[in-house]
Symmetry: D2
Subunit: 308 residues, 4 copies
Amino acid sequence: MALSPELLDIAKRVNNWGRWGSDDEIGTLNLITDDVVRAAAATVRSGRRVPLAVPLSQQGIQTGMIPGRVNPLRTMVALNWEMFGPETVATSDDTVTMGLQAGTHWDALTHVSHTGRIYNGRPADTITAHGGAAFSGIDKARHIVSRGVLLDVAGARGVDRLAGGHAITPEDLEVAEEFGRVQVRAGDLVLVRTGQIQLFLAGDRHGYALPSPGLSVYTPEWFHARDVAAVANDTLTFEIFPPEIENQWLAVHALDLVEMGMLQGQNWNLEELAVACAEEGRYEFLLSAMPEPFVGATGTPVAPVAIF
Amino acid sequence: MALSPELLDIAKRVNNWGRWGSDDEIGTLNLITDDVVRAAAATVRSGRRVPLAVPLSQQGIQTGMIPGRVNPLRTMVALNWEMFGPETVATSDDTVTMGLQAGTHWDALTHVSHTGRIYNGRPADTITAHGGAAFSGIDKARHIVSRGVLLDVAGARGVDRLAGGHAITPEDLEVAEEFGRVQVRAGDLVLVRTGQIQLFLAGDRHGYALPSPGLSVYTPEWFHARDVAAVANDTLTFEIFPPEIENQWLAVHALDLVEMGMLQGQNWNLEELAVACAEEGRYEFLLSAMPEPFVGATGTPVAPVAIF
Amino acid sequence: MALSPELLDIAKRVNNWGRWGSDDEIGTLNLITDDVVRAAAATVRSGRRVPLAVPLSQQGIQTGMIPGRVNPLRTMVALNWEMFGPETVATSDDTVTMGLQAGTHWDALTHVSHTGRIYNGRPADTITAHGGAAFSGIDKARHIVSRGVLLDVAGARGVDRLAGGHAITPEDLEVAEEFGRVQVRAGDLVLVRTGQIQLFLAGDRHGYALPSPGLSVYTPEWFHARDVAAVANDTLTFEIFPPEIENQWLAVHALDLVEMGMLQGQNWNLEELAVACAEEGRYEFLLSAMPEPFVGATGTPVAPVAIF
Amino acid sequence: MALSPELLDIAKRVNNWGRWGSDDEIGTLNLITDDVVRAAAATVRSGRRVPLAVPLSQQGIQTGMIPGRVNPLRTMVALNWEMFGPETVATSDDTVTMGLQAGTHWDALTHVSHTGRIYNGRPADTITAHGGAAFSGIDKARHIVSRGVLLDVAGARGVDRLAGGHAITPEDLEVAEEFGRVQVRAGDLVLVRTGQIQLFLAGDRHGYALPSPGLSVYTPEWFHARDVAAVANDTLTFEIFPPEIENQWLAVHALDLVEMGMLQGQNWNLEELAVACAEEGRYEFLLSAMPEPFVGATGTPVAPVAIF
């Protein structure tokens, strides 16, 4: 089923097509100005670093539920190989096959389309099998460093992790702002913690996948009002799954990626980060989350790091 | 041929086995303390960001010269797929197969071994086909953020790019320090520019591969004396190739990775960075260069970013 | 440019849509009846076997000219691994990544489409990124055993290999029949030798690719008249390449695969076979050329064997 | 634990090292002479063909139990792509990543080693990560066509499928010979049916994997006495699994592959074949089971076909 009239109304309100010109391919990442980054760097006080990516291996997040999104298979193509002759220095090299969205990742703006369109009104068929995304591939999004803000919704709500059916609302986000004594502002990279990834970390990949808490269809307007640059969380699907409104599958994806032109991140491990924020007494930090520049890709693994 | 007596002497002098305990797996990355990172963040003034990775695609750096190190093959596993039924939001997903050392990458400490040993004296056969590197896999090196320093040797020597036979010496490094009015210090991530990557950027992959300027066997002692955390450059092989001393293949690799326990980076695009340093009038910056946490890997693609 | 009026006329004459029912997915393979196979087996006299596949490795046929069609990368995922404990029996396992059309292969009927149609008039968009070919995938073609006939055009024309610009005509085929004292008949698997693969075998992959002799646009009618089950040859593109008629790219593919519903094979090594036929004094044999049953695939590696 | 004294005694009795010379790499495949093949072809009477491979897809046999042995991931690299311009003939191409032993496959002789040795007494470390098997790779075994014999042990024992704990003994094999009124002889390809693959076909991949009936450690002597060329069956592990003798893991593999130099096949679908044998009233046929010639591989997918 297509988006409902209510969601189409939201779509109109959050739509950023043309806002940065008809040639634009990166959407709200335009909001990360040099000034924003300079201010973000100024938040660093202790030098503590917290990495946010899950390990990449065959024991990864994927269960086979999403066709083709395979866990990383890393293999050796050289193993202590004395390539230049006996007793020479020996090399070890490896290759990998993996789904670009298999682990901790960014969705490119082209990760979804609806009614035949991608961000900035371009036709969805500008994505092809032989070339990938001609526009808004993840390789266009190469400067993702800004202020990071943790909205620890689970913490703010006083639970270890949110229940599977919890659709995170704008109110939840504001309670988390208050909990962290932080205000989300233009150009921020917002990390929304549900605690759901604890299930994966405990070995329950199926439980992690669904049912899962996640962002409600009412959050895109909130992110739009704050002019957020990108949002990531600690779930497989980003938005609540199964969806909060029957048959409105991936509606948040459509609003964020297609209409607003705002990148989403998934499977980010925010557990150690929540501890660090509590210990440091602040929920803002410098966040570097650079995409691997896969040409034409609709997503990419990312190894984000928060710097306090 | 094994390392020569001269090189074995150097090996003894730069050896860090046991320096951070017999359990250590990350070597000189230990030198990146919170204090170092805090000071690095304090160098940020303009907020300008410069990404250093080359695009990842079939048109990548590899020529087939290094067996198994294949350029990235990215394919779509879903293409505007209405997974949930007609007219629903459609998804596009991709997978990749690639050599972990194919593009802009970090070598893990385990990327080479010599005389049967890897860093910290462990047996080389702790790397296996089924498990990868049991110790010092790249997944252990998850906090690579520090002060970056560009040593623009080409710039300091007044050339666009160094000649293929140029072995970069400690003297070259010091001339580049002077050129950049910067002093390399403990915990730094040092980027050494030769200009060689211009050949790749101009489409000459074979010319880029060799002959190539690169670091001399006399530089590890210099890096050791300065207590550098890691070094990267803009060439395929990192060290001069073919080697400066006949039959002493990959000697710099052996000294840096195995003896000193210091990570190396290759195929970093330092061209835009050199321009930025000249424009900003400083050759230091905050550098984030987080490895993708492939479990047991001997290398990883990396998307480094310099923040001014 | 679309097919020319002349070629569209040929298309009408060779068209087999509906011939084996609207549900049919295998086209001329229907012509291989049990009787045909029994007669084919009866041709076996000496028991000599000749394999026709080229080795599968990184040193394979592909040069990068055809995007994504990568040579096989085989890697070990276990290497004398004592999985069950010290001194137990040790296992070695491997994986491969490869283009299904990279080496000696069959094109499935879905390998090409024109004017939006595949074999039997189905829409071309029944092939999707997530599912492959819903109809006429190579997994549907699972019984390819029949009489093989070698039409040694190079031999019949008295040359080692045909010139790059040689478009093989019906007359060439008939001269080769005469040369081999054999008559092509219904249900046959016809192998057409040009000698072009000698270039690959001698290490000249680029010369092998093009210019290349190959089948003329006038051969489909001849194969149609004889009710051939499938045709393979010893070139990269099957048809003459570049094409004999300007801008009529892949016209033979369109006629054979889409219109006639006849499988094509490429990169078959027919050199040893030509010697065997000459020595055995007959150009017919039992041919087994079973596709690997990749579900929804538009091609497959094949390891054909001729049995004399 | 190493092989027990009893098994080492059997090893001595079935050992074929040197039997075909110290240079031999194919073991009992030497027993398939031209005469054997001619006689095999003479068994063809009806022309009926039965394919024996399971479909290759992400829904394949592997469960993740065997590390790195991944089910086939097939992806499109071109999808109705008008490579030569608008309205030209469009191409579709695919790639695959898969474990070579993931589906219906042959083990190469190098698939296992014990006490540091492979077939013909060569050192196990002649298999390397960068080169695969220098000796006895599957690419050396390129003529696998011979008489096939179905030993339908399940049928002979009057059950749909053998129980998980059933170790197939020489007596079982002889009962199956009697059941099929067939005598196994030199050069035969013997197919041993347990019925276990019904579990996979019914969707129970874990039940298929184990517990599984399979060949007993006492069968290698029987195959040796009959001078069988190769043996395949319809289970994941070939031999009974878990093993019949505690801690004697993969003992049959060691005896067949290493000592005798006899290829093994696994995951062959023998269900339709059993029906065909019963209907045709004979348990012998021409069997073509050509390996894909992966250079240095320790196994390969195979698409066998029985011709009656």
